[in-house]
Symmetry: C2
Subunit: 413 residues, 2 copies
């Protein structure tokens, strides 16, 4: 397993400001790793609203089920995340572990267990020794500090090669509010899989249903538009917490997601989601190239999305890009297999700015040297024009390299 | 690109008998390759019935469109197949190339161009120089002989590592009839993709609609139950020809696919389809292990198929098998992402004969040494029990190795 930082990692880590009402702490509970932190606790002020979206897997992890059941109440006082064990496919003992973790955290900070949200990532099918949290929760609650964002992002990493943080500010009414986010992406620990976890925090005073509306809309073109290998974790979790602390500085209370005053906030919120999602693609297992797939001229956006995902998930397209080969024949194949309306004789394909195919055949002006230069870049856009309608969409992925196979095919020790 | 024969190749090549009414010849037309044959012509007796199934791609190759349009007439006098150029995504010139090829062949053997069926495999997006066939069709027609089956299978290979042939006999009425088949599988030539071509021939007197019925049913559990990487070629073609010559030996004319006298013929026909489909999986690009995925206890067979394909197409499952890792956590993931009814707490998973998971958790009796021995075998069965109903299905695939990435990610020269 490679431990080198992905060559696609952002060049600069942003300064992460404090968010009123959020305090963070990390600890080494020894769940699986040695010599590193593996638990994150976020302590949230009373009145914090929560929203969440989760894996669509029919076999979700115990923490995913725990969060789903508690989301309706809409109120959160803590988030506890561990790495090293996913608490997935652990049956009755898995449910017991979530209960115990929530009770321990609730006791440490003085809230109800139902106000504690949970996420786990790591090994599947092994019981999570949640009693190990007993030794650290009191200290976590006591140590929690407003600026430990990078430490928080580090504690939830599995084989991510860099911690993922993002921040943005927005005007809401007369006040400036902040959105911070952390994420972990497609890393694996045998016998685990790529699990995506992301957590957003804001001091904006937004009621839970409005926050859920913002989130449901925001993930469409961010986390739901990223694919590493088309596989879906049992544990994917994206939670969003709004402390409402900015109300004291004049920010208005927002009850509905379609409130017009949310315009600038939505931009910041979607920006953080998009930034984190892109970092996940930049840290795809074995990735050497960030690949943007753009589909235009589809009959609808939904159809464009399906075609874009068909291209982004095609092993033949992804290996070609790894080999710096502008193999548009495979793009044609991936368009064709998507099952969406497409007319071969109207199809156009670009790599970067260079059109390689036009009206269902190779572009006669196609210059091999120019395309070769495009394919050597670390960031590559594949664009398909269908010429049928106004549907457009974009997804992010990465190439498929021998390192992906090495990372995921290593013998289990 | 590796040229070594797949370690999963069948140990023995069957003797291929003649089929009355079928003659075969191959030639080197120099479409792309040097020093090998690249054209196959099958000359068929008057009255030969034809049936076919094709790629579901929305961007099919020109020969696929040609065959589809001519299938309804149900009558064939020749099949011309070339390797080296797929004549796909070639626009108007592609249609011209099919027309020219059919005309040349028709003239050489004395039939109508509409009775000539075509298939091409190889490079995509480059015009097929069909005029090169002009130099070889007359000799092909003259040389065609009844026993050149292995040569025929060799002429249509791209990066297949071995030729694929299969044969079976059956009783039909009072006569013995024969079914022969040849196929090519998942090989690629930059910038091409895995294209599957297969051709079956029989002397049984079966009318075209009945043959189509047999074929449509026969592919469900053979070629449609094989996946290498989930990618769908623009050119996949499976054609079946029935000369009817066995009528002279007393075989009854069959007009309908549900004719009861077809029982033994169907067994032989399905056997050849299944055998060839398995050989395709055994020659999957970079394959080191043949993987059988069995799903039981699903709500329907259709649901079982979807879950089996989700497992068989999962890069994480396939890389784990390449690494000889009985990573059942990834199997849970693949079941979960299929979107089909599944109850995590009833799930059971086996590798070979060893149950590794039971009732939604690791099987307590799971023996690491025994499972390790299973995973070292060249043929591995992954079985999932859903515990919901009587739906059962089976698909074949292979592992995902670094060689797959090397074969498909090599720099284009």
């Amino acid at each position: 397993m490679s431990s080198a930082v992905s060559p696609l990692a952002p060049k600069r880590v942003p300064d992460m400001p404090a968010i009123a009402g959020v305090r963070l702490a990390t600890a080494a509970a020894g769940i699986r790793y040695q010599g590193r932190t593996d638990v994150l606790m976020a302590v949230l002020e009373k009145g914090t609203a929560v929203a969440g979206v989760f894996t669509r897997s029919k076999c979700p992890s115990a923490p995913v089920e725990w969060c789903r059941e508690r989301l309706e109440a809409g109120s959160a006082r803590a988030l506890v995340v561990n790495s090293g064990n996913a608490n997935a496919f652990t049956g009755r003992s898995g449910r017991g572990a979530t209960k115990l973790t929530a009770s321990l955290a609730a006791k440490a900070i003085g809230c109800r267990p139902s106000e504690v949200f949970l996420a786990s990532t790591g090994v599947i099918g092994e019981p999570l020794a949640a009693d190990k949290f007993a030794g650290v929760v009191d200290r976590l609650a006591a140590d929690a500090a407003p600026t430990a964002w990078l430490d928080a992002a580090r504690a939830i990493m599995t084989t991510d090669t860099f911690p993922k943080v993002a921040t943005a500010t927005a005007r809401l009414g007369g006040a400036t509010v902040t959105v911070n986010g952390i994420a972990k992406g497609a890393g694996m620990i045998a016998p685990d899989m790529a699990t995506m976890l992301a957590f957003l925090f804001t001091d904006a005073p937004i009621a839970a249903p409005a926050l859920q509306g913002l989130l449901a809309r925001g993930v469409v073109d961010s986390f739901n538009a990223v694919t590493i290998d088309g596989d879906t974790s049992t544990s994917d979790t994206l939670l969003c917490f709004a402390t409402g602390a900015a109300a004291a500085r004049g920010a208005p209370w927002i009850a509905r997601a379609n409130d017009r005053r949310l315009g600038d906030f939505r931009r910041a919120f979607d920006g953080v989601l998009g930034n984190l999602a892109e970092q996940v693609a930049r840290d795809g297992e074995g990735a050497r190239k960030l690949v943007e797939v753009v589909v235009e001229g589809a009959v609808t956006k939904r159809s464009a999305r399906r075609i874009a995902l068909s291209i982004a998930n095609s092993p033949l397209v992804k290996t070609a890009i790894a080999g710096e080969d502008a193999n548009w024949g495979r793009v044609v194949m991936a368009v064709g297999k998507a099952g969406e309306p497409a007319d071969r004789d109207r199809l156009a394909i670009w790599f970067g700015d260079i059109r390689v195919a036009h009206r269902g055949a190779r572009d006669p002006a196609y210059d091999e040297a120019a395309i070769s230069a495009v394919m050597k870049r670390p960031e590559i856009t594949v664009k398909v024009g269908l010429g049928l309608g106004g549907g457009r969409d974009r997804v992010l992925t990465c190439d498929l390299t021998k390192d992906y196979v090495a990372i995921n095919g290593d013998y289990r020790s």
